[in-house]
Amino acid sequence: MEEKRHTSSHYEKELQEIKNGLIYLGALTEKAIHAAMKSLSERNSDVAHEVIQADDEIDGLDTELEEKCIQILALRQPTAIDLRFITTAIKITGHLERIGDMAANIAEKALLLIEEPQLKPYIDLPRMTDLVAGMIRDSLDSFIRKDLHMAQKVQQTEQVIDDLNEQIFRELLTFMMEDSKSIHRSLMIMQVSKNLERIADHAKGIADMVTYMVTGECVRHQTYPLDEKEPA
C-alpha cells in the first residue's frame, strides 16, 4: 500500500521507529516460540534457559515501545489513521509481551519434561508451533501493510489451533487413563499445548486490532462462522 508522507520527516521517522520496533519484538517472540519448542523436542535445556532469559529483553522492549507511543501521543497529538496506528501499536506490544511470557512458560515446562523420559514423540506440537509462529508473523505483516485480507487469514487460523489443542487434549487423556505414571508429564504437555493455543488467541487479538486500525470498526468479541460449528 502506498503510504502518504507526513510533512514532518521527524514525525515520519518516529512512526517508522515504532513500526520497526514492533516487527523486531514480533520476530523476537517468534524466535522464542520456535526455540521453546526446539528445547522441548530436542530435549535441550540450554535452549530452554536461553528462552527464559530472552523474555527479559522482550519485556524491556515492550515498555520501551509503549513509552515511545505515549510520547508521540503527547507531543504530536496524532489524528485519524495515525491515532489508530499508535493506539493499536500500544495494544500490540501488550499482546507480544504476553506471547513472550508464554514462550518462557513453555520453556519452563520443557525443562521439567526433559527431566523425565519422553512420553511420546511430539508431532502435533511442532506443527502447532509452526502455525502459531506463522500467525504472529502474518498478524504483524497485516499490521505493517495495513492488509485486511491477511488479518482475516490469521483470524481463521486460530480455529485450526483450537482444534489441534482439543486433539492433543483427547490424546493425552487416553495416555493418562492408561497409565497413571504418565499423568504428570501429560499435564505438562497439556499446558504447553494450552500456552500455544493462548498465543494463537493473542495473534488473533493483534489481527482484530489491525482490522480496527484499517477500517475503524471494532471486530473484537465477535464470533466467526467457523466458531459456530464447534460444540460449546
Binding site: 521517522k13 517508522q16 513500526k19 520497526n20 516487527i23 523486531y24 514480533g26 520476530a27 523476537l28 517468534e30 524466535k31 508473523r137 504483524l140 505493517i144
Partner: protein, 584 residues
C-alpha cells in the same frame, strides 16, 4: 526574448529623445522669447524716437500711417496722463494713462516698457514709452504697443520643426532598435535554443556563432561546458556500469541501505541466495524485509560501534540459508552515510562441517562398539573369571566376530575414502549383465537359503553388455542383494530384472522386505545412516554399504534409484549408461 530586448532598446532611445526635447524646450524657449522681445522693443523705441524728432502735435494726424508702417499701435499721452491721440481707438473713450507702468518708468528714466495681457484683443502686448521733452520739461509721452503674437508664432514654428525632427529621430530610433536588437538577440537566441536542447537531453554537438563580440566568448564557454559535462556523464556512466557489473557478477550478495535505513539496492546474487522467499524488499527497512532478529541485532551493533560487523545469520523460513554477513558503512557524500551489507552463503559449508563432525562421531562410535565388546570379553578371560573351556571358546568366538566386523568397517572406510579421493582405478570392460548376476548371487545364496528366501533371476540371455569394472560391479550387486536378503523376512522373495530405459541399462532388484519409511528414503546412502539403528547393526552391517554403492555408481557414470514402501518392500534400480556399448 527578442521582443523584450527590442522594447528595451527602443524605450531607452525614446527616453533619450524626449529628454533632449525637454532640455531643448527648457533652454531655448525663454532665450528665443527674450531675444525676439528685445528686438521688437528696440524697433519700437526707434520708431518712438523718430516720432519724437518731429513735432508730436503734427504727428497726431499721421498717427494711423505711422502705426501702419511701424506695425504697432501708437498712443500720444500728455504730461498728466491724458491720452491725446491713439492710432486705433477713439481718444474720448480712453481713460487716464498716467498709472500705466511703462509711462511711470519713462517719466523716471526717459523710456519704459511693459508686457501686459491686453483684455481688449486677448494677447500679450509689449508697451514701449518714451518722454517728449521741451527744455528738459516733460511735455508728454509717446507709447507704442505691439502684440507679441509674432514671438509666439515664431516659437511655435520652431517647435513644429523640432517636433518634426523628433519624429524623424524616433522613426530612426525604431529602425535602429529593430536592427540592433535583432543583431544582439540572434546569438543569444541561438545559444538559448542550444541550451534548451541540452536541457532536454538531445544529443547536441557544439554551437557556432558568426559574431566576434562577447557573445562569441560566451558561446565558446558554453561549448566547453557541454564537452566537459558530456565527458563527466560518460565517466559517471562508465563508473556506474563497472560497479553494476561488479555487483551483479560477484557471488557474494550485496545489499545497500540508504540514509534512512531503507533498502536501496539488492544484487542478483543475494536475490538468488534468498530464492525469492522475501518478495520485493526494495524500499523497506531491514526489519520489514527480513523479520530476522539476528540480522537486526548485527545491524544495531554496527550502529552502536560504527565499526564493521561480521555475523552469521539464518534467513528464510521455508528454505533456510545460513549467511555470513559483514556490515560496513559507505561514505559517498559528506553527511550522507549509507550502509553496505555483504552476504556470503555458508549453508553448504556449514552442512559439510556438520557432516564431517557427524562422520567423525559416527566412525568413533562404530569402532568403539566392537572394541568395547572385544576388550570386555578378553578382560574377562584374562581375569580368569571363567575357567570353563566352553565359555572361553564362546568369548573368543564373539571377540573374533567383533574383530571381523571392525575389519570390515575399516575396509569399507578405506574403500569409501579411496573412491572419494579418486584413487580407485576402474578397469572398464564389457560385462554381460547375466554373468554379473551369476557371479554375485552365489555369494548371498547361503544366507537366502537359511531364511528360505527365493531369489528369482529373471534376466534374459539376449541382453546387451554393460561397460563396467567387473569386480566393482559384483561388489555393487552383492551389496544390494545382501541388503535385500537381510531386510526380507523368512519365506520372502527377491526379484532380479534387467531392461533398458533412456539410453541406460537398468538392473532392478526388488524385495518383499520391510521397506523404508518414505521420508527416510532420501537419506539412504548417507554414511552410517541406518533406518533402524539397533536392528541393522544386529544384522552385521557397517552402515556404509549403500554409501559405497552410491559412490561406485557415480564412478561408473550411472546412478541409483530407490523406491520403497514401508512393510511392502524395496526396489533398487541401477542405471548404467549404454553409450560405450553401442559401438558394436
Amino acid at each position: 526574448m527578442k521582443r523584450n530586448l527590442f522594447l528595451k532598446i527602443l524605450f531607452s532611445y525614446l527616453v533619450i529623445v524626449c529628454l533632449s526635447f525637454f532640455i531643448l524646450d527648457l533652454l531655448i524657449k525663454d532665450e528665443i522669447k527674450k531675444v525676439m522681445t528685445s528686438k521688437i522693443e528696440s524697433e519700437l523705441l526707434t520708431y518712438a524716437e523718430l516720432i519724437d524728432l518731429n513735432s508730436a502735435q503734427k504727428m497726431s494726424e499721421q498717427l494711423k500711417q505711422i502705426a501702419r508702417i511701424s506695425g504697432s499701435r501708437v498712443t500720444l499721452v500728455d504730461a498728466r496722463g491724458k491720452v491725446l491721440a491713439d492710432s486705433e481707438k477713439d481718444v474720448a473713450t480712453m481713460e487716464d494713462h498716467f498709472s500705466r507702468p511703462e509711462l511711470q518708468e519713462a517719466r523716471l528714466r526717459g523710456k519704459g516698457k511693459s508686457i501686459r495681457f491686453s483684455q481688449s484683443i486677448g494677447v500679450d502686448m509689449l508697451y514701449v514709452a518714451i518722454t517728449m521733452k521741451s527744455k528738459s520739461q516733460i511735455t508728454g509721452y509717446i507709447r507704442l504697443a505691439r502684440p507679441l503674437n509674432d514671438v509666439q508664432n515664431a516659437i511655435e514654428k520652431i517647435y513644429q520643426s523640432i517636433f518634426l525632427a523628433m519624429m524623424i529621430v524616433v522613426a530612426l530610433a525604431l529602425a535602429i532598435a529593430l536592427v540592433f536588437s535583432y543583431r544582439l538577440a540572434a546569438p543569444i537566441l541561438s545559444m538559448e535554443r542550444f541550451t534548451e536542447r541540452l536541457r532536454q537531453g538531445d544529443p547536441v554537438g557544439s554551437i557556432f556563432l558568426e559574431t566576434s563580440d562577447e557573445t562569441k566568448k560566451l558561446a565558446d564557454n558554453i561549448n566547453y561546458l557541454v564537452d566537459e559535462l558530456q565527458s563527466k556523464i560518460r565517466l559517471a556512466n562508465e563508473e556506474k556500469s563497472k560497479l553494476m557489473t561488479a555487483f551483479t557478477s560477484m557471488t557474494e550478495g550485496v545489499l545497500i541501505l540508504d540514509a534512512e535505513d531503507k533498502i536501496e539496492f539488492v544484487n542478483q546474487a543475494l536475490s538468488n541466495m534468498l530464492a525469492e522467499q522475501y518478495g520485493d524488499i526494495n524500499g523497506k527497512t531491514l526489519m520489514e524485509a527480513f523479520r530476522n532478529v539476528d540480522l537486526q541485532k548485527a545491524f544495531f551493533k554496527f550502529r552502536q560501534t560504527h565499526a564493521a560487523v561480521f555475523e552469521e545469520v539464518t534467513l528464510g523460513s521455508i528454505e533456510p540459508v545460513i549467511l555470513s554477513v559483514s556490515i560496513s558503512s559507505v561514505h559517498n557524500y559528506p553527511g550522507e552515510e549509507k550502509v553496505m551489507m555483504v552476504f556470503h552463503d555458508v549453508t553448504r559449508l556449514k552442512k559439510l562441517e556438520k557432516i564431517r563432525v557427524n562422520f567423525v562421531a559416527n566412525v568413533t562410535h562404530e569402532i568403539r562398539t566392537p572394541l568395547t565388546a572385544i576388550i570386555g570379553y578378553l578382560e574377562t578371560i584374562q581375569a580368569g573369571a571363567t575357567t570353563s573351556n566352553e565359555d572361553v571358546k564362546k568369548f573368543i568366538d564373539i571377540s573374533l566376530k567383533q574383530a571381523g566386523r571392525l575389519n570390515r568397517l575399516v575396509e569399507d572406510l578405506l574403500v569409501i575414502s579411496k573412491i572419494e579421493l579418486g584413487e580407485i582405478k576402474l578397469h572398464f570392460e564389457e560385462v554381460s549383465i547375466r554373468d554379473a548376476f551369476e557371479n554375485s548371487i552365489p555369494l548371498v545364496e547361503a544366507k537366502a537359503v537359511i531364511k528360505k528366501i527365493n531369489i528369482h533371476n529373471n534376466v534374459q540371455d539376449n541382453l546387451s553388455y554393460i561397460w563396467a569394472d567387473r569386480d566393482r560391479l559384483t561388489q555393487i550387486l552383492v551389496n544390494i542383494l545382501d541388503n535385500a536378503v537381510k531386510f526380507t523376512q523368512e519365506d520372502g522373495s527377491v526379484f532380479i530384472e534387467a531392461g533398458q530405459k533412456d539410453n541406460h541399462a537398468v538392473l532392478t532388484i526388488t524385495d518383499t522386505g520391510i521397506g523404508v519409511p518414505k521420508e527416510e528414503v532420501r537419506r539412504l546412502g548417507e554414511r552410517f545412516y541406518r533406518v533402524d539403528q539397533s536392528r541393522s547393526r544386529d544384522l552385521g552391517g557397517t552402515g556404509l554399504g549403500l554409501s559405497i554403492v552410491k559412490h561406485l555408481m557415480i564412478a561408473h557414470g550411472g546412478k541409483i534409484e530407490i523406491e520403497s514402501q514401508l512393510g511392502r518392500g524395496t526396489r533398487v534400480s541401477l542405471y548404467f549408461p549404454l553409450k560405450h556399448i553401442n559401438r558394436e
